[in-house]
Amino acid sequence: MTPEELLDAYSEMVLIRRTEKAAHDLFMSGLVKGTTHLAAGHEAVAVGASSALRPDDYVFATYRGHHHAMARGATPEECLAELMSRATGLCQAKGGSMHLTKATNGMLGSYAIVGAHLPMAAGAAWSAKLRGSGQVAVAFFGDGATNIGAFHEALNLAAVWSLPVMFVCENNLYMEYTPIEAVTAVPNPAADRAAGYNMPAEIIDGNDVVVVHETMARAAERARKGEGPTLIEAQTYRHFGHSRADPAKYRPADEVERWMKHDPLDVARARLEALGVPPETIADRDRRAAATVDAAIAAAKNAPEPEPALAFTDVWADGGAAWRT
């Protein structure tokens, strides 16, 4: 990554962090309903990965997907409006926090059933291969997803068909409240399975955006050359609880502290400083992100609620919901 690229990546991460903080506060104040799964702490995975992709590549994410939507170009306003049930939301308030999608940018959705999107990503990669488009597909998923059947089926298919797909596990040590190590037979829940699919695997620092970027760039290159899928296990940590108001008391204090000290924003900032980027340049990006998010909050608050009729659109490709003739 060039210093400029890194600075842009840093800016994007800050923007995500601030948007997530806003989501949290808006949830607490009752303006965001339902549930949210904040990815604060995971920003480097999304930004590092996306910065290594082509604009026409495909990304599939989970219910913890704000960072992936934004890394692929969804704006804070679109995201917050969706969370706040506004008509201007990314999904017209029909998806919510768990289903952020920005299809025009190849971000093909956030899926809330653990593991379900891994076969979809394999399918998108198959499609790219069939069309000879040179595109790749990426599925981001949690450590907990490595124990569900769809994981196994997707990895085998991708390997057998030599598909241009990357499976990126965001291993944050926990499922909802239970540590992944308590329910998994191997220490590295994703990487230790890769050999069973004859698939190359890497375990990386998911909080270092440069490492993520470089790993993804290599894997994408392999994929585009027809050399098949790669599995990447990115070690990271969430700053908030699993969802909503979860205080995450099940996590030992020293573990939390250790990871908080390894904040992906700090890691990137340190790299920027080491590269000689002046502190004021960085601070300026911080300020710009803050201003963008403040404006997004205000805009989302002022945006209209969805029309009731929206409940009956877009079941079918003709735009409607008619089930009988």
Binding site: H99, I148, G149, Y177, T178, A311, A321
Partner: protein
């Protein structure tokens, strides 16, 4: 007195844990398994106290492996245990549907009666909380398509306890739907030993003009509608089915002998909803009782939208129920 009432506040959520605990105390073969049900006490707090009281030997945290959860419950049930498996949200039954559709309900029949599968699959069902398309569905109709499953969906805390006891003691497999929108509601704590036979509907409110058949979340909804309509001089009888299998059609048909008018209120979608089967029994066996068309107030035939205001458009509401009843009573 106020303090006593406070101390006695007994929620639907509490009732789930209490119902399970009562059976675990009685019968050492009752064991629980599911995601985050142990030390974490369940993401809906419906297993509070179980891990503390019964320990890790009887309350097992699992990986995110719905097939393994329900499949292992089946194997254990065939070999002397009475497992109570939690599937966190009922939408995820789709991830282990083979077990619910093809394995558990057929094992006894296809072995000529050689095996018995006494298990309970508990799951949080239904909408109204803004959880969106993949976490809000009322899917009791999925289970209803499968002969060989008993299906329970209580509407009150006392019924949760009484039906949970019956479900766990049943030698047949039971799918137990706990409605998310009812979890915070409260009611009287039933006495020890409270047991409600499966397949017995309750007449939640007596009335003479229109019969409303409801289940789980649609029971309080229908009762509210009945309250409102009482002011307009319409007397509504509300039947809480409590179970879909066995289906208590006797209570429904008996009610129709008096009211001659039927509204079925169900949260699952209209297409393929359980109400269709209830209506078809009535349209056959109860045809001569009817003085008016039969109406169904059901979920719309669309996925569930996230925004509250949109969700209300597509699931049953008090207004939709009163509207349907008014039209029937004016017929």
């Amino acid at each position: 007195m106020a303090d006593v009432t406070k101390a006695e506040k007994f929620t639907y959520r509490d009732a789930v844990a209490e119902g399970i605990a009562r059976e675990m105390r009685r019968d050492p073969s009752v064991v629980c398994l599911g995601e985050d049900i142990g030390a974490a006490e369940g993401v809906f707090k419906t297993t509070v106290g179980l891990f503390k009281e019964f320990g890790p030997g009887r309350v097992w945290d699992t990986p995110i492996s719905e097939q393994a959860i329900v499949g292992a419950a089946m194997g254990a049930a065939m070999t002397g245990m009475r497992p109570v498996a939690e599937i966190m949200f009922s939408d995820f039954l789709a991830c282990c549907w083979d077990y619910l559709a093809n394995e558990i309900p057929k094992a006894r029949y296809m072995t000529g009666g050689q095996v018995t599968v006494p298990l309970v699959v508990r799951t949080a069902n239904g909408g109204g909380l803004g959880f969106g398309a993949q976490h809000s569905q009322a899917v009791e109709n999925w289970a209803f398509t499968v002969p060989g499953l008993k299906i329970v969906a209580p509407s009150t805390p006392a019924d949760v306890v009484g039906l949970m006891s019956a479900a766990i003691r049943s030698d047949d497999p039971v799918v137990f739907f706990e409605h998310k929108a009812l979890l915070a509601g409260s009611g009287p704590r039933p006495p020890e030993g409270h047991l409600i036979e499966l397949g017995q509907a309750a007449v939640a409110r007596e009335g003479t003009d229109v019969t409303v058949v409801a289940l789980a979340s649609t029971v309080p909804l229908s009762l509210k509608a009945a309250d409102q309509l009482a002011g307009e001089g319409i007397s509504v009888e509300v039947i809480d089915l409590r179970c879909l299998i066995p289906l208590d059609m006797r209570t429904v048909l008996r009610s129709l002998e008096r009211t001659s008018r039927l509204v079925v209120v169900e949260e699952n979608p209209y297409q393929g909803g359980w109400g269709g089967t209830v209506v078809s029994v009535v349209a056959d066996e109860g045809f001569e009782l009817l003085d008016a068309p039969i109406k169904r107030v059901a979920g719309a035939n669309v996925p569930l939208p996230f925004a509250d205001s949109l969700e209300a458009e597509v699931i049953p509401t008090v207004d939709k129920v009163t509207e349907a009843i008014r039209r029937l009573s004016a017929y």
